[in-house]
Subunit: 278 residues, 2 copies
């Protein structure tokens, strides 16, 4: 494997910082930049092959580490493991930034933080043309998978409930709100419970494994998307009215790739809960 090269380091650090470090100026006043920093080589980090089985326990433990959660767990298991094996630039990232993924970004229930951690890792290596199909594969897998899958080892350091068996549910959505609330509703387990946290710790391991499998295939030149959009989505978008441009489509107002089913099939969950609701 090649070491980090000068081009990458310049891309990473910005000229001023590299000059400062080269002059041994750690701890003294940094060089003042005269203009906006320029990232000369975007997506310049070199991706590395990892063992999917190796990252799983790291992701699981990372979830519980200082309560940093799912986004940190997935990201640290991938980029941190690269840092362990290959040093810079992988060990230079301020990993705690990914704690923001917790509970769908600072508790808001938007994108599942485990997925955010994975996409964040992808994005150090690949721009949107290469990355978007990888994200599609990962997100479609998540929408249709029955979580959790991972079984933590009995001697896991951080595990709170590592020996119990947990019920599963299909996430149905990449949104934390739907993924968690469906699981809680189906299984009668509160969203704010140790069992639900343990579910998400295991999903952190599941997602890290899947993300590394996708990355490895990309690096090896064998990656291709295998999971198509749902039939519902194809009907609404690919063959229907809501995608594309104004010329071809009747109501081209749609933004996004999420499956339409959870929110647009009139289920009991999306009816008016403000009237005659128990």
């Amino acid at each position: 494997m090649s070491a980090i090269n000068r081009r990458q380091m310049l891309g990473l650090m910005g000229g001023a910082a590299v000059v400062g470090l080269g002059a041994g100026s750690l701890g003294v006043t940094p060089v003042q930049a005269a203009s906006m920093p320029v990232e000369t080589t975007p997506f310049s980090w070199t991706p590395r092959i990892l063992d999917p089985k190796e990252v799983q326990p790291i992701a699981y433990e990372g979830f519980y580490d200082r309560g940093f959660g799912c986004g940190y767990g997935v990201f640290y298991s991938i980029i941190g493991t690269m840092g362990k094996k290959w040093g810079a630039p992988y060990n230079s990232f301020p990993y705690s930034m990914l704690e923001m993924g917790k509970s769908g970004v600072s508790e808001w229930g938007t994108l599942c933080g485990a997925l955010l951690g994975a996409v964040s890792a992808f994005s150090l290596f690949w721009g949107r043309k290469d990355r978007d199909p990888m994200v599609d594969e990962l997100f479609r897998w998540y929408e249709t998978a029955a979580f959790p899958m991972y079984t933590p080892p009995k001697n896991a350091k951080a595990a709170k409930l590592n020996e119990i068996s947990l019920p599963t549910s299909v996430a149905d959505s990449v949104l934390c709100h739907i993924s968690v609330s469906r699981w809680s509703y189906k299984n009668g387990i509160p969203a704010q419970s140790k069992e639900r946290s343990e579910r998400c710790a295991r999903i952190t391991a599941d997602t890290a494994k899947k993300a590394v499998e996708i990355m490895n295939a990309k690096i090896n030149g064998t990656f291709k998307t295998t999971l198509a959009a749902s039939d519902v989505r194809k009907s609404c978008v690919a063959e229907g009215c809501h995608g594309g441009t104004a010329d071809k489509y009747a109501s081209p107002t749609l933004k996004g790739k999420m499956d339409c089913t959870p929110c647009h099939t009139g289920s009991e969950h999306v009816q008016n809960k403000m009237v005659d609701h128990p």
Copy 2:
């Protein structure tokens, strides 16, 4: 303002990388770390006061820069401007990573990428205890604001449509899918159009400004949340059944802080679109 100190640089770089750089080893084989990299001081970057008016045009131009989009635009306008003024560590970040925020994370329509860029910047400085109220304030502002607000200068370098007037709509949600599709639906402008892109470029500037205002208040010790959750949400969660723990609440299955209204009040948009749909 204090310069980056040794503790922060060690926290940022990891011991092995600092040793490697100190020995002038740029471009040669990096030091192999023996164990997982340890971030000794999470959230260790020093936050800086910025001029909200100064970041707006940078965020707007950043949206169009190489098509890197909203997440990159907001993040680069904040952390890049700090890099311009104070050098390291702000100029060391691989900014292109935030391109992933585009169109609600790699086109999926989940969390608005402009918000993701802002939370990512917050998260370099503040852990969840300090950050979550800042995020609440930013996200509630976004849910209720009529976008876009920003008017780009006529001489803006990157602007495609900088002199046109755009219609507005209340986002109603922090999700890109709802924010964009509502605007397109209300105003009859395709989601895949230059006008819609220009809307999002302006929202990138709007969000950068609001994020900096919140950060400045936090740094000055004057920050407090001013925007409460909607009455609907209070009814469902704070005074109702779906939050808290099992002991107190009847159906504690809820995860997240998004307003309930868009998806749980039975609007025409969430009825069954698979049956008798034109």
